[in-house]
């Protein structure tokens, strides 16, 4: 079953905020085996010019899971079967580093759904902002829905 193309252009603001904590950044850095002190030690972070410890460049992936219930992918009318999904592409534009103490919210837009051979590609763009409205990051995720493209005439 092809994905519902009426979703293209829809926007999904999250209903809660995400507070970035020092211990969560440390846990994430531990999970990727990264000992960089700028993720762990506020003094080291300040020496590098940051107000507090910062998060690794891919840390914002946690928002997608924390806010999964506000995501278009869980809307049954989209027609996405998660068992057929693989992550195709990911991109982060960091307008500034994510840091401990940030209270983040996101608006995710379905930028595109298109065929790629027998698969479909669904691209979502999320704007991540801090509590004061400062733009923090723009993240772009492309999911591959395997084998769901409308069959084409030979």
């Amino acid at each position: 079953m092809p994905l519902n193309r009426e979703f293209i252009g829809r926007e999904y603001p999250v209903k809660e905020t995400f507070e970035v904590g020092r211990e969560h950044i440390r846990q994430f850095a531990d999970a990727i085996g990264d000992r960089n002190p700028i993720y762990r030690d506020p003094e080291a972070a300040r020496a590098a010019g940051h107000p507090d410890v910062i998060a690794p460049p891919t840390f914002l992936t946690v928002l997608g899971f924390r806010f999964g219930m506000d995501s278009p992918v869980v809307d049954p009318t989209l027609g996405l079967n998660y068992a057929l999904v693989v992550h195709g592409e990911q991109r982060f534009e960091l307008h500034r580093p994510v840091r401990a103490g940030d209270v983040l919210s996101t608006v995710t837009k379905v930028a595109d759904i298109r065929d790629a051979g027998r698969n479909e590609l669904m691209t979502m763009v999320s704007e991540v902002t801090a509590a004061d409205g400062e733009r923090v990051a723009t993240t772009t995720s492309t999911l591959v829905s395997r084998g769901t493209a409308e069959p084409k005439e030979a």
Binding site: H24, F28, A31, N36, Y39, T58, V62, Q90
Partner: protein
């Protein structure tokens, strides 16, 4: 930290190899919130046609990014980072797991002291697991 003036197109970043074991994936599940069963349950992973439990693509992306952040020193220097996930990283349940090897080189110099770093990530056997992996980094 390397300076913008010191790097040229073609400058190589120090290559690194990252062992990936089941424990790493379990830790990444907890830290990221991505508990997709294919990252920790071999029975289900193989039943849906995967060669084994596979690493989170985002885990692989994070490890590859360490080649850039270790080189830059300050991870806050990374302005953009994007990858395509071209092949999975199977992680067998043995004492070795998988080995991810990542190299990088400066592909372009931009204005504003920014450089483009291209990354290559391979697993044993030479399979490239990322494609189009690039980071934009601001150097002093």
């Amino acid at each position: 930290m390397p300076s913008y003036a010191d790097v040229e197109v073609g400058t190589a970043l120090p290559e690194q190899s990252f062992p990936v074991q089941r424990l790493n994936l379990v830790m990444y599940c907890g830290a990221s919130g991505d508990f997709n069963i294919i990252h920790w349950n071999e029975r289900i992973a193989t039943a849906v046609g995967l060669p084994n439990v596979i690493a989170h693509g985002m885990f692989t992306m994070a490890e590859a990014g360490r080649v850039v952040t270790d080189w830059a020193g300050d991870p806050g220097a990374v302005l953009e980072y994007g990858v395509r996930f071209s092949k999975p990283v199977p992680v067998p349940d043995d004492d070795k797991g998988a080995m991810l090897t990542v190299s990088g080189r400066v592909e372009d110099k931009l204005d504003g002291n920014r450089v483009v770093v291209g990354l290559t990530a391979t697993i044993e056997g030479g399979t490239q697991v990322l494609s189009g992996a690039r980071a934009v980094v601001r150097l002093p």
